[in-house]
């Protein structure tokens, strides 16, 4: 039997079939029905459709299995395996009747549930669902696996990994793009190409959504980003707005497909609205004209780049890697990790990105925490709020692999070094998941002093990476910064090595910059100067603290002077509106010009100092930086409890009662809460510095219940509770009952807050409460959310019903004091 898709791809062109849905609808399928049921209820229909496509010239036909997944088939009475087996069999029967050498593809589309964080589907669940599909397909004798109409890159990654790990079948993957060159979830063409090539997919391309003419820009861009055989399976033009029908004629479709040949398309087919006539016209065109593949495609140079699903960073000029997500030497960060305070980490990320980071290094290694679990949690959370690519930083292969699996896009791995064992442990992972990798120029003997020896290690790392199949453009070398005060001679050696790696090996270079000045006064000056020297020697990826304006500024200025920042546009954009300030002295953006005090704020609590009164007012007016600055001042004058109990809490109480009375509204409540938060942060930092215990009035676990992803209400409650000094353990949204129970036990909390927004998720709330009670836990439960009523709260045995965030604070005071 010679049905090898990879061999077929060596031909000048491969013809796929056209639409299945269109054919089934013509045969009477009703909208909303499950088409895969026909595999068993009307096999002859399926066989006949496949036969028509084969006669029209298809080399590969897609079995009618697009929606045959556990989720979509729920309740239909047939199993995934049954319908896939029947689907493949029908296709094979048709091949036997018409063209035995034709290939049958197992076809799988999106699961039909959005992945977290937007939806609730988790990566491992998606992986399981696709595993079931591909195992059934392989078992039934499919020749290849096709994933099509995908819009979520992470879901597609789960699918591809399932296909590669569970079967040995070739994999083809096509995604659906809109005219804005993105999928519905925002995935870009370059991100798709970089990620899928890394995962070892055999052919990639686009299908559905648009006609061949409209898809041309997408295909062109794809061809610029990939050496892989390209697949195009467009619709028969755009649907008619009145009827939803497609009107491009088969001959015109073929003519438009002809125009796509110039981009190196190898695999041609049709999606919605295309019928056997279209495939006939298409195969006629290809037979007549041929489709010689441009020779240079196979050796096409793909730029060195990494990406998230929505953002690709090309390393064609210096790019800043933010170094702040790392507990080393950072008390606050360590403490946040131990508390599992993800918000702290996320804010570190947002701050760096705003300051100018192009990538973020992520290191969460700390004794006493499960680094693997923490890394996965952090990467998922980070990718839900920032779009810059991440650099996964760990010494443990299992941590790296766990993060590489769930990373959406193409990340950097930090790092390998010249040690044999390290190379052989980590490079296979880098290859399997298609990442880029940082190679440190050290080995069993430590860091060589001479540039030439570091260069030799770089060369060794490159050669080993190549031998594992990692492309050259994905190897970045770190020649290692040594501290100038300790090894002054080493500075120039490092720079020499950078230059040689860059020019002689043609690799991208990385350097952590901040170490250079260790032990010296005015470190920023030394760091900035070294950074500029390194950039001039060919440094591509400085790892630094982007929040220091002098450092980010040096990179910007360098790009301007080196002619990379065309017309100085980026430089001007960064500084035109802002003085080169450190960020500390900027006026509060929300501050109403010239006035903090308004008539209603005049009645202050008694016996406050002038600064306390000012802080009270700042909180009332929601002025964050004002509040923080005043707190700094007050810390020099009085003890923290005096600030908290006599100033902040009364201000919050005042806001709260105004809110209750309808004199203030939610946004104002939140502005004040943020100002108070900023003040608490200052106090917290102060306490940590003096090794005093942070103030805690008690712990509270809060969660949005299982199945519910609306968590803004819960987050409002959290902010207010934190304001009042409660330590809030926020389990997030879509939280299973067991996790709430675990947290209550682990943290020994006396109060749990649960929220639910939908009538459909009240069941989960009830279930969660029942589980807490079943476990005999001695804690009170408060509930809230749009659809809840005090009666229902009672009915499900909650102890308290909170009608709004303010009331949750009152409840906490009642329970915890």
């Amino acid at each position: 039997m010679d049905r090898d898709f990879r061999k077929l791809l060596e031909k000048d062109y491969v013809i796929l079939d056209g639409a299945m849905g269109t054919m089934l609808q013509q045969a009477g399928l009703r909208m909303g029905e499950t088409p895969e049921m026909l595999n068993v209820t009307d096999a002859p229909l399926l066989v006949s459709i496949h036969e028509q496509y084969l006669r029209a010239g298809a080399d590969v036909i897609y079995a009618n299995t697009f929606g045959a997944n556990r989720h979509k088939l729920a309740g239909c009475g047939r199993s995934v395996e049954e319908l896939i087996t029947a689907g493949i069999k029908n296709a094979r029967t048709a091949c036997g009747n018409v063209r035995p050498e034709a290939l049958v593809a197992l076809d799988a589309g999106p699961i039909g549930q959005l992945m977290a964080p937007t939806g609730t589907l988790r990566f491992e669940d998606a992986y399981e669902i696709y595993s079931e599909i591909v195992r059934a397909g392989a078992q039934a004798g499919a020749d290849l696996v096709v994933f099509e109409t995908m819009t979520d890159l992470l879901e597609l990654k789960a699918a591809v990994l399932a296909a590669k790990e569970q079967t040995g079948l070739p994999v083809m993957a096509t995604m659906t793009f809109e005219t804005n060159m993105r999928t519905f979830t925002g995935c870009s063409v370059s991100a798709m190409a970089l990620t899928l090539a890394g995962l070892g997919v055999d052919a990639i391309g686009v299908n559905c959504s648009l006609g061949p003419d409209e898809l041309a820009p997408v295909v062109r861009q794809l061809s610029e980003w990939s050496r892989l055989p390209l697949v195009v399976k467009p619709n028969a033009g755009l649907p008619d707005p009145q009827t939803g029908e497609y009107h491009v004629a088969p001959a015109d479709f073929a003519a438009s497909m002809h125009n796509l040949k110039q981009y190196g398309v190898r695999v041609f087919g049709g999606c919605c609205g295309t019928t056997p006539e279209f495939i006939q016209a298409l195969s006629g065109m290809l037979r007549r004209e041929g489709n010689p593949i441009p020779k240079n495609r196979l050796h096409k140079i793909i730029p060195a780049a990494v990406c998230s699903a929505t953002k690709t960073v090309i390393i064609n000029e210096p790019r800043i890697i933010g170094e702040r997500i790392n507990p080393t030497g950072k008390k606050l960060f360590k403490e946040a990790l131990l508390r599992r305070d993800l918000d702290y980490i996320l804010n570190q990320a947002l701050e760096q990105v705003r300051a100018g980071a192009d990538l973020l290094d992520v290191n969460v290694g700390l004794p006493g925490i499960d680094e693997q679990e923490m890394m996965v949690t952090a990467v998922l959370a980070l990718q839900s709020v920032v779009d810059v690519p991440l650099q996964i930083d760990s010494t443990l292969p299992e941590v790296l692999e766990a993060a590489l699996r769930i990373y959406n896009g193409k990340p950097v791995v930090n790092s390998v070094n010249g040690e044999e064992e390290c190379l052989d442990r980590i490079l296979p992972l880098v290859h399997k998941y298609g990442a880029a990798v940082v190679g440190l120029t050290l080995d069993e003997n430590g860091i060589p002093k001479e540039a030439s020896k570091r260069f030799a290690i770089a060369e060794k790392i490159l050669n080993r990476a190549l031998s594992y199949g990692i492309p050259k453009e994905d190897v970045y070398i770190d020649c290692l910064t040594l501290t100038a005060s300790a090894e002054q001679d080493g500075v120039m050696e490092t720079l020499k090595a950078v230059r040689r790696v860059k020019t002689e090996l043609g690799l991208k270079t990385v350097l952590g910059v901040s170490n250079i000045s260790f032990g010296l006064p005015n470190r920023v000056l030394v760091n900035q100067t070294f950074l500029t020297m390194a950039l001039n020697n060919g440094l591509d990826l400085p790892i630094l603290n982007p929040n220091i304006p002098e450092m980010t500024g040096a990179v910007r200025a360098y790009k301007l002077l080196a002619g990379m920042d065309c017309n100085s546009a980026a430089y001007i954009k960064a500084y035109v509106d802002a003085p080169p300030a450190t960020g500390k002295d900027l006026p509060d953006r929300d501050r109403p010009a010239g006035q903090i005090r308004s008539a209603e704020d005049a009645d202050l609590p008694k016996n406050l100092t002038a600064d306390q009164a000012a802080l009270y007012e700042a909180v009332l007016s929601g002025l964050k930086s004002e509040g923080a600055a005043l707190t700094e001042t007050l810390l020099g004058q009085m003890d923290t409890m005096e600030i908290v109990d006599r100033t902040l809490i009364p201000a919050l109480d005042r806001i709260g009662s105004d809110f209750e009375a309808g004199r203030r509204f939610l946004p104002q409540l939140m502005m004040s809460a943020s100002a108070a938060q900023a003040s608490f942060e200052v106090i917290r930092t102060f306490l940590l510095k003096t090794d005093a215990k942070p103030v805690s009035k008690g712990k509270i676990v809060i969660a949005t219940v299982k199945g519910d992803v609306h968590d803004i209400g819960k987050n409002i409650v959290k902010v207010l509770l934190q304001n009042y000094g409660y330590e809030v353990i926020d389990l997030g949204k879509d939280v299973a009952a067991e996790r709430v129970v675990e947290a209550v036990i682990k943290h020994r909390v006396k109060l749990v807050g649960l929220s639910a927004l939908m009538t459909t998720t009240l069941v989960s709330m009830k279930e969660t409460i029942a589980r807490i009670h079943e476990n005999g836990l001695d804690c009170k439960i408060m509930v809230g959310g749009a659809v809840l009523t005090p009666e229902y709260a009672k009915e499900i045995h909650a102890d308290f019903y909170a009608k709004d965030a303010k009331e949750s604070v009152d409840i906490a005071r009642k329970v915890l004091g």
Binding site: G32, Q113, L114, D590, T759
Partner: protein, 227 residues
């Protein structure tokens, strides 16, 4: 494919109403916050919509949407569609980019987050309004009911999945539903509009059909959401 719907500005008054401002005017600080949030939201929102007209037929089980396996049960939808021979099923969303915007705001600035949340609700309603206007233009000779949302009255919200399937909404506009029948992206709407050859009794629209009527903050204050 219809021309895309664009949002040029958002109804701030409506957003303030969602935030609990009843009649009062926003102060300057609030106005600035609204402006900033409106700008961000307009930048992030990608309005998408979808509608399709079906003939309908009352049955014992509910209103059968012809040519599909969707049947709309309950008294409220039956009353809503009384006198109609066709129904338009519609779906609208401001897309996933808004979900992300809301996530980031909740980390950085909760005041901004609650205002953005409210504006996003306004935005998707405006997309619905524009969709409705198109339907009106497309069927100038027909009388049209207001839009009746899934989950309102006794029309079960658990129909979302089948409803979206009939419209092919996941593929066409990236609108999905999770196992709790929540629409994802979050700021999305599905609704049914009746079409008739005869004038319709407009008075049927009101709080009675709303499943929030017992705990509606607008009703508590003697008001109405106009939803």
């Amino acid at each position: 494919m219809d021309e895309p719907i664009t949002l040029k500005q958002l109804n701030r008054q409506e957003a303030l109403r969602y935030l609990g401002y009843s009649g009062g005017t926003a102060d300057r600080q609030m106005e600035q916050l609204l402006s900033r949030c409106e700008k961000k939201l307009l930048l992030a929102a990608v309005p998408r919509f979808l509608y399709q007209v079906f003939r309908i037929r009352p049955t014992n089980a509910g209103i059968q949407v012809e040519g599909t396996n969707l049947c709309l049960p309950g008294r409220s939808i039956a009353a809503h569609l009384a006198g109609c021979d066709c129904a338009v099923l519609m779906a609208a969303t401001v897309s996933e980019s808004v979900d992300r915007l809301l996530r980031v705001a909740q980390l950085e600035d909760m005041a901004e987050a609650v205002v953005l949340d409210s504006l996003a609700g306004v935005a998707v309603e405006q997309v619905c309004d524009q969709t409705e206007a198109r339907i009106r233009r497309r069927f100038p000779d027909r009388y049209q009911t207001f839009r009746f949302g899934l989950g309102y009255g006794d029309l079960p919200v658990t129909l979302q999945a089948d409803f979206l399937k009939v419209l092919d909404a996941p593929r066409k506009i990236g609108l999905n539903v999770d196992s709790s029948s929540m629409l994802v992206p979050v700021k999305s709407v599905t609704a049914v509009i009746g079409l008739s050859g005869h004038p319709l009794d407009k008075s049927v629209r009101g709080c009675w059909s709303c499943n929030l009527r017992e705990r509606c903050q607008f009703r508590e204050k003697g008001g109405h959401c106009n939803g």
